[in-house]
Symmetry: D2
Subunit: 395 residues, 4 copies
C-alpha cells in the first residue's frame, strides 16, 4: 500500500498517510521531548523505539515514561539500528538529539541500516564526517533532515517566497542575529545541558557559533536565496571565563558580493529567542523576529509598511497554508514549526517509498547538504577568528 | 496499577502517567483536529474511537484518516458510548465538538456510560440542560471539562496568581473583549463552519455571544477571581443581514459592584484573535492579548511597566511552569494551551482513578459548573438585549 | 500688508506670514505653557500679553518669567481685553486656559473686544453659554478655536482622509476610549490641577467625561465623519470617594444608527495617554493610539495589515504634509500637534484678515461649533447617567 | 543683571532666564528650521540674525521669512560675526548648519568674535581643524556645543544614569546601529540635501559614517560611559553607484576591551529613524530605539522586563525631569530633544555669564571635545576601511 494517499502538487493540500511512520529516538533530553511533541502533533508519526541512555536501566526507565515497549528500549544505538532494521515493524526513521560529538557515529549506524534520519545541528564536529554522511545517504538511499527548524516557520517560508518573487528587487544587505540571555548568570554552569555545550570534546570547536550562529547563517541563506560565501569572525567570551566562546560577531559576504552581518550571543539580557533576520533590497525590505514569529514586516519602498500575519489568505501563499494549523491571530509557535519539519520529513520519506518525484520547491525541509554546509560555516568562522578576523572563504 | 506515577503537589512537576488515556471524538471538524493535535502533543492520550459523521461511510473514511480501527468508527454517538463502555480497552474520555445543539444529547450519552467528557462551549443551548448535565456528572462520577481553553495559557494563569496575591490591590475595573474579523466579508456565508453558527436551531439563542463572548466573560472571571453578577447587553448585526447577532456590547458588574465592559464582534478588520483582558486595581493593572499570548503587561502604579514573559523563572510561578514546554522566547501558542487543558483533564481523571484528593488550586481546568454559568451568562445577555439593554442578573 | 504671503490651496504648502500674530494668555498654568511652546514653535506667533493670575503681584512675577512687558501683565481679563483692543499693537488673539467655569466669561470679554479666541475644552459649563458664544462670534466676526488638539495629529488627519475616501467601505462600528492612570494614587488630591477638576463649581457637571471623554467623542466624530446622535452612559467612582466621576462607560450611536462604545477613566494603571480610536467598516478597519501617535494601522480586509507612518510620502497625503515637521521615523508628539492647531488657527485668522475664502477642507481645526457640541455631549451623558443609563439624544 | 534667575543644583528645576538669549543662524536649510523650532519652544532664545545664503538677495528674502531685521540678514558669515559682535544687542550665540566643509571656517569666525557656537556634526572634515577649534574655544572663552542631539532624549539620559548606577553590572557588549531608508530610491539624487552629502568636497571623507554613524558612536559612548578605543570598518555602496559609502559595518572595542558592533546605512527599507542602542552587562541589559523614543527597555536578569516611560516619576530620575515637558503617554519627539540641547546650551552660556560653577553632571550637552572625537572616529573608520578592515585605534 502506498504511504501517501493523494497527490503531491504545489498549491494542493499535503496528502494524508495511510499509516503513521514509525520513529525512534537517540538522545532523550529536552530537545527530543520538544521534537516528539511535534511529531505526535502531526499525526504522521508513532514513537516506538529509543536509545535514551547508555545506561540500560536508565534507558528502560526513560522508555517506560515514553510508553515504549521494553524490548525497544536500547542502551546502544548500534544495536538499536541493527535490531530495528531487522524487525518487520521496525522504525522508518530515527531522531538524533545527542550532544554534538555523537551525531556522526549514530547517524552512520542508522544510515547504514537503511533507516531515515533527522539529526540535530551542528551535523558533525568535522566537515570530513559530514561529507562522509552525505555520501552514505546517497549510497543507502536514505532521507536525511537536519534540524534547522527555524526555516519551517510559515512566515519564514513566506519571506522566502516574497524574495523569490522579486518583490524586494536586488538584495543588497543581509543581517542575521541570534541573541539569547540564558548564560548571563554564572550560576547553573554545571547543569547538564550547559556543561556539554561548553566542553570542546562534546560541543566541537565552537559553542555559541555551532549552536545558534548556524541557525542564523542557515536562515539568512534560506530566506535570501543567496549563498554565504565568505566571512570574517571574532569570538568573544563576554561573561565568566569559559573554554569556548559565548558570543561571536561576523561580517559576511553572499553571492554577488552582497554584504551582511551576523551576531550570536547568549549574554544579552532581555533577549531570549532573539533570532532576527533583516534583508534589504533595491525595492524593499523585510524583517522577522522569532519572538514575534507570527508576523512578517514587509516594506515596499514608497508604500506604508505591511505586517503579514500567519494564517490563511491575507497575503499568505496557498502552498504555505499547508504549514498552518490555527487561524490568523490564534498563535502558533516553535512546536508547530517542528511539526512542519516532521511533516515535510514524513512527506519526503513517503515520496521516496511511493516512488513519487516531487516538484522543485514542494518540500523545503533542511537537507543533509545544508547540514554539511553548516560545518563549513563553523570551520570558516573558527579559522577566521584564529587569524585575527581575516576574510575567509566558506568551502 | 495507578495511572499517575508520582505525587500531586503544588510547586512539584506534574506526575507522568503509567499509560496513555484513551480518547474518543464526537464531531470531527476543524476544532476537533486542533484539540487532537494538542491531546497527542501531551503524550497523555491516544485517540482510538470516533463518531466523526452521522453518515456511516463518511464516518469510516474519516476514521481511516484518523487511523482509527474500523470497528471503532461510529456513525451514532449513542452506540459509540454504549460500545466503548463495554470494551475492556474502551475509551476513558470523549471530546465533543459538534455544533452547539448536539452537545447536550451527546454529553448525556457518555456521562451515563461513565465516560469522562470534554465538551465545547457553549455547553448547551438551554440552561436547564446544563443543570441536568451537572447533576448527571455527580451521579455518574464523571469528570467533565468545558473548552474555555483561553484560561489555560500560562500567562493567564500567571495573571490570575498576581491578582490572587493582591498585587493589584482592590480590583475596580474589568474590561474584556473578543474582536475578530472573519465575518467581514459577506462571501463565504455558506461555508459549513459559518452556516451553523448563524442558524438558531444549531447555534442556540446567540451566535457571537455564545461563541466568543463567553470566552471573554469566562476569562474575566477566571483571572479577576470575581463573579460577574449582572450585565446590560445590546446585540448588533453590523455587516450583512443575519438571523443572529455578529456583535454585542455589554456593561458588566462583578462582585462588590466592580464595573466592567465586554465586547464581542466578528466584524473588526485587523483583529483576528483579539481576545483582550484589562484589569485595574487600586495598586496596579494588568493587560493580556491573545495575539501576543506570550507576554503579560503588569503595572504597579508608580513603577515602570513590567512585561512578564512565558517561560521558566523571571517572574513565572513554579506551579505554572508545569504548563510551559519551550524556553522563554521560543513561542508557544494556542495548541499548547489546548495541551494544557488536555493535561489537566488527564490529571483530573487520573486523580479520580487513583483516589487522590487534589489540593485546592492544583488544577484549574474549566469545569462543567463554569460551562453551566456560561449558559446563564448567554441567557442574561439575551434577556437584557430584548429589554432594551436593561440591567439583568446572571442567575 | 496682507498677513499671508502666498495662496491657500489644498495640496500646496501653507503660506508663511508677513508678520507674527500677537497672542495673549488667560490662565498661565501647565497647559498654557504647553500651548505656548507650540505657538512659538510655529514661528507664527509672539506671546505678548497675559492675565496669568488674578493677584496682581503674582501676575507681574509670572509675566516676567514669560518675558512680557510689565504694562501687558494684567490681573483681570476684562481689563486685558479692553486695553489690548485699544492698542495699535494689541493682541490679535487670546488663549484661554483657565479652569472650566471661567471659559465662558473670559471668552465673552475677548469676543466682544473683537479678539480671536482659542479656548480649552470643555467650552463652557452650560450649553446655553456655549450657544451664546457661538452667536457672539458671528456677531463680532471672530475666529474661535476649541482645544480638541487630538484632531490635529497628522495620523488622525490621515485616518479621516482614508475614511472620507471610502477605503473602509460602510462604517459599522466606532470605538473610542481615553484611559489614564494618574488618579490611581489617592495621594496628591490636593494638588491644584487635581483639585479644581474634582470641584463641580469649577469643573462643571462632570470631571472625567468633560476632561477626556470629550476628546474621545470629538475624535470619533472627526475621524469617522459621522455625528454621534445618542448615548447611554454610566458614571463610576472607581477609586477613593470623590464629588465627581473618575470613570465613565458609554454605548454610543452615530448617524445611520452605527453603534459604538466610549470609555474614559483616570484609574487604569499602565495607561497614560491611552486615547485609542478603532473604526471598522465593511471593507476594512483602522486603529490609532495616542501613545503611538506616529503610526496608523490600516487593514483592508483580505490584505496584510498596513502601518502608515507620519512623514512625507509613503501613504501620507500631500495636504497633510503641511502638518509634518520632521522626517519619517524622527518622532513628533503632542507639542507638534498643538503646533498644528496654532498653525491652522493663525491661517484662519490670516484668511479672515486678508479676505480669503478658503476651500472646504483646507483647514480642519476644531471650531466653536464643535466645542458647543461637546457641551451637548456632556449634558446628554449626565442626563443618561441620572436616568439609569437610558438612551439619550445628544441635542 | 544675572541671566539665570535661580540656582543650579542637580535635582532642582532648571532656573529660568531674566532675558532670552539672542541667536544667529548660519545655514538656513531644513535642519536649521528644526533647530529653530526647538530653540523657540524653550523660550530661552530669540532668533535675530542670519547668514542664510551667500547670495545677498536670497539672504534677504529668507531673512524676511524668518522675520529678521533687514540689517541683520547677512550673506557672509565673517561679516555677520564681526557686525554682531560689535552690536550692543548682538547675538549671544550662533547655530551653524551649513554643509560639513564650511563648519570649520564659520565656527572659527564666531569663536574669534567671542560668540558662543552650536554646530552640526561632523564638526569638521579634518581632525586638525577640530583640534584648532578646541584650542580657540579655550582661548576665547566660548561655549561650543555639537549637535549630537540624540544624547538629549530623556530616555537616553535615563539609560546613562541606570548604567552609571551599576544596574547592569559590568558592561560586556555594546551594539549601536543607525538604519535609514531614504536613499533606497535612486531618484532624487539631485535634491540639494542629497547632493552635498555625496560630494567628498562638501561632505568630507565619508557620507553615511559622518552623518549617522557618528550619532551611533557618540550615543554608544554617552550611554555606556565607556570610550570607544578601536574599530574595524568596511564601507559599502549598496545601492546605485556613488562617490561615497551609503553603508558601513564595524566591529568596535571600548575601554576594558568591551566588544561591540556598529552599523549605519541609508538603504534599509522600513527603517527611518532606526537608531538603536543595545547594551548588555553581567546583571542586565537595556535597549532603546529612536522610533520609539519614549520607552526604554530595561532587563534585570532573572526579573521580568521593564519598560520605563518618559514622564515624571515611575522610574524617571528627578534631574532628568528637567528635560520633560508633557506627561507620560503624551508623546514628545525629536524637536523636544533639540529643545533639551538648546536649553542646556543656554544654561551653559548663562552659567558662564553669571560665573557659576556647575556641578559635574549638571549639564550633559555634547561638547566640542565630543565633536572632535567624532572626527577621530571617522578618520579611524576611513583608515580601517582602506586597510581591508584592520583593527585601528581611534586617536
Amino acid at each position: 500500500m502506498k504511504l501517501l494517499s493523494g497527490t503531491c502538487a504545489i498549491g494542493a493540500p499535503f496528502p494524508p498517510q495511510t499509516r503513521r511512520l514509525r520513529l525512534g529516538i537517540v538522545g532523550g533530553g529536552r530537545i527530543s521531548q520538544t521534537q516528539a511533541m511535534a511529531a505526535r502533533l502531526t499525526d504522521r508519526w508513532d514513537i516506538l523505539a529509543g536509545a535514551l541512555s547508555s545506561d540500560s536501566s536508565k534507558a528502560a526507565a526513560l522508555g517506560a515514561q515514553w510508553h515504549l515497549d521494553k524490548e525497544r528500549c536500547y542502551s546502544d544505538y548500534n544495536i538499536m539500528a541493527k535490531s530495528e532494521s531487522e524487525r518487520a515493524d521496525g522504525i522508518d526513521a530515527v531522531m538524533i538529539t545527542t550532544p554534538n560529538h555523537l551525531h556522526y557515529d549514530a547517524a552512520k549506524a542508522f544510515i547504514k541500516a537503511g533507516i531515515h534520519v533527522i539529526c540535530e545541528k551542528p551535523l558533525t564536529n568535522h566537515y570530513s564526517q559530514a561529507e562522509e554522511l552525505v555520501s552514505l545517504c546517497e549510497e543507502h538511499n536514505v532521507i536525511f533532515a537536519v534540524c534547522y527548524v527555524m526555516s519551517t516557520f510559515p512566515m519564514i517560508r513566506q519571506a522566502r517566497k516574497i524574495i523569490k518573487d522579486g518583490t524586494l528587487g536586488t538584495i543588497n544587505q543581509i543581517h542575521a542575529e541570534f541573541m539569547q540571555d540564558w548564560m548571563t548568570s554564572d550560576t547553573g554552569a554545571d547543569a547538564p545541558h550547559v556543561k556539554w555545550r561548553l566542553d570542546p570534546a562534546q560541543s566541537g570547536p565552537t559553542s555559541c557559533v555551532g549552536d545558534i550562529g548556524t541557525h542564523a547563517a542557515h536562515l539568512a541563506q534560506f530566506v535570501s536565496g543567496l549563498q554565504m560565501t565568505d566571512l570574517r569572525a571574532e569570538f568573544h567570551i563576554c561573561g565568566a571565563p569559559k573554554p569556548l566562546e559565548d558570543t561571536a560577531f561576523m561580517m559576511t559576504r553572499f553571492d554577488h558580493k552582497v554584504p551582511g552581518t551576523l551576531m550570536a550571543t547568549r549574554l544579552a539580557p532581555g533577549n531570549r529567542g532573539g533570532l532576527r533576520l533583516r534583508i534589504f533590497g533595491s525595492k524593499g525590505g523585510l524583517e522577522w523576529d522569532l519572538e514575534n514569529c507570527e508576523r512578517l514586516k514587509l516594506t515596499i519602498f514608497g508604500q506604508p509598511d505591511q505586517i503579514i500575519t500567519r494564517g490563511h489568505g491575507h497575503g499568505i501563499s496557498k502552498h504555505i497554508e499547508n504549514l498552518v494549523r490555527t487561524g490568523r491571530g490564534f498563535p502558533e509557535g516553535l512546536i508547530e514549526a517542528w511539526g512542519n519539519l516532521y511533516t515535510e520529513f514524513a512527506l519526503a520519506i513517503g515520496a521516496r517509498m511511493d516512488n513519487i518525484t516531487l516538484e522543485e520547491g514542494y518540500l523545503s525541509y533542511p537537507t543533509i547538504e545544508e547540514g554539511a554546509w553548516g560545518i563549513q560555516f563553523i570551520e570558516a568562522a573558527v579559522q577566521s577568528h584564529q587569524k585575527d578576523g581575516r576574510w575567509t572563504a566558506i568551502s
